[in-house]
Amino acid sequence: MKPEIRTLARLLVVQASWNYERMSGLGLGHAAEPLLQDLDRSDPARHADALHRAAGFFNSHPYLAGVAVGAEVRAEYDGIPGGQIERLRAALCSPLGALGDQLFWAGAWPAAIGAALIAVALGAGWWAPGAAVTAMLATRLYVTRWALRTGLRSGMQVGVALQRTRLRPLVNPLGLAAALAVGAAVPLVIRAGLGAPRAFAAGLTVLVAAAGIAAGQWLGPRTTGIRFGLAALVATLVVRLVLR
């Protein structure tokens, strides 16, 4: 199998050995290994140093980790001093993490899921979640390949390439689409869950939702929806048992 294909496959599971010490560094080193094979033949000492650098601490977004792998491999073949490569690697963590978080975790993911929820609530079958997964799988494969090639093409100039990327302008539209889709999905899912509308059940739902929002906003992040939901269900059961 071609080294680039092996690297791409490894980038799909780049977080398999994620840990608090090196975060996704080991996954990055593992992904870079096939592309550094030629360096092992031409300069074994440099190859060993390069692998050490590649497997050091690194944390960013898994979809965009290929940018760092590609840039680092290219810089190693270009003979850039190790210190400079380590600085490049450190400098890439935050921008790649922030771009990936905004694009995918806070943009494409909730937008796709929100759209699928709306479709399901309006009567669509299994194909709606299936379409969301297919779209995200295609995005993942495309972005992973694009990221690796951008890194390999740019090397130490990868910062400039990232500033010019066509991904960055997508952050705002995807964020807006996500907010719109999630906002519309909430009442539609509740309506589907309630079944035949009853004024009492609908009123209770709105009341509990408002209490949940208030608890989340004012009592701090420890009051998660899961804890609130469990507490509300247990409290309702207790009240009903007492009033029986």
Binding site: I113, G183, L194, F200
Partner: protein
Amino acid sequence: MIHASTVALLLGAGTVAGLDLSSGPQVLLNRPLVVGTAAGLLLGDPWSGLLVGSVLELFALEVLPVGAARYPDHGPGTVGAVLAVAIAGPHELWRGVLVGLLAALAGGWSLRWMRRAGATRVARASAALQALEPGILGRLQAAGFRSDLARSAVLTTIGLGLGFAVRFVGPFPPSWNPSLNAVALGAAGGAALNGAIRNAGRGRRLAALGAGLAAGTLWAVLG
């Protein structure tokens, strides 16, 4: 009566969901809506799967894995939640939500445990990493993947166990179900909106969230 092969397939679906969240490839296979749909199809009850998956998805939308956020793992437990509703019937949706939330809490703890175990594994392999033994990176990646596989399988098993066991809570009069379902749905809606408000910040995204909420409410009331 649920056949053993169906339980095995459910275990497989939950395990794949857990792996997708942590090891990768992170393509929505972990989302409750997707796992719920798959579990519903496997159980021959697609509507229960879509319904439970949709409601648990609202809880899952509260915390997106942005930055260093600590997040629960909703995927594997959703399988047990769908099982609970497939057994009890969609009028007892709240039983599925109860199972899904308990399993998601356990999922969050399991992620933290797995990451601490990963750090210990790396510390133990520090000499091999320093010497860069041949194949050490691959072995550590494979060990991490196996650890995640075991975590996901155990979590799915817990979810399935809860899914079977939750029918023994009660029995309660059928007249209680509407209020219990309403509470579960309200808490789910509140969780999703809390997360959406936090992610939207102030400005156009908050306006888009408000517009979506208004349109969805109108559709739900008039549709």
